[in-house]
Symmetry: C2
Subunit: 165 residues, 2 copies
């Protein structure tokens, strides 16, 4: 791990933020930026989360994905419990610098606490497909993946589920 | 466009939300869920935005991407100004249903208001690469794309830039 923490730049112009080489992230009212994580090989979307200032610094310094867990209200080293650490192959920032994109490889091949490879294992029908399948506006989600990579109970034991109703 | 608006289900259990076929999205305190948009062919991340209730319904009904613009505080039919409409090839929802993934094809091939194909055209160095390149913790972003697909001034004219400092 690098000894020197990353310094973020002040945001002083649209041109600087959008077209420049300064790293000047915009954290929201809760001190967070969005983080989108895809599998570096397959391109599959694995998860969408958030980072605070510290999570972004740690990710940059270590090359492993850190997030801010809103449900646990704390810094979250992804994989610290499950062993499914995400190694950052490439980190990119978007135009207005309120979102980062992590292209990662995942030890164990799974990123979802439910046990699936990706958090996105259900499809919502749209357009004609929606019109044909809806009944009074209600649709059924369609599973695109039904094979869990791991058993959440074995990995997380009795730890509280992170899903909030 | 379908005559019947989508009905979202009440969220009553973790099992229903994570493992069921109910579409029961969780909108946050601002009435929004995160939306991640990738190019259906290349897998490239194009943008990360937000949807409110109406944007999600419109996306489902029409098969074109609608978002909620936080900077303009209004429903946003992506491409309405620029013509760069996003046709939704596949729409997926994540485990706890607070995020949707849009796999789209884009008329014109660009999704970024700055003119690039993707909003993510700059890389942040991490780990050893960071350690080697940083000076007093300051790094320079590296451009991964330097060819703009369109000229924002031609497309948007004098409309205010959406980037907020």
């Amino acid at each position: 791990m690098s000894a020197t923490p990353t310094k973020f730049q002040e945001r002083h112009s649209v041109e600087q933020v959008e077209e420049g080489a300064d790293l000047a992230p915009k954290f929201d009212d809760h001190g967070l930026i969005a983080a989108v994580t895809t599998d570096a090989e397959s391109g599959e979307l694995l998860m969408q989360g958030f980072m605070n200032d510290q999570a972004l610094r740690q990710t940059i310094a270590t090359g492993e994905a850190y997030y801010y867990s809103r449900s646990r209200d704390s810094l979250w080293h992804k994989g610290a419990t499950s062993g499914l650490v995400q190694k950052v192959i490439e980190l990119l920032v978007d135009d207005d610098q309120d979102c980062v994109w992590l292209r990662v490889s995942v030890a164990g091949g799974a990123s979802c606490h439910v046990g699936y490879r990706s958090c996105f294992y259900r499809r919502v029908p749209v357009a004609d497909d929606y019109a044909n399948k809806q009944r009074d506006g209600v649709v059924e989600l369609e599973f695109t993946d039904t094979d869990k990579v791991f058993d959440p109970k074995e990995v997380y034991g009795d730890a509280p589920n992170s899903t909030i109703l």
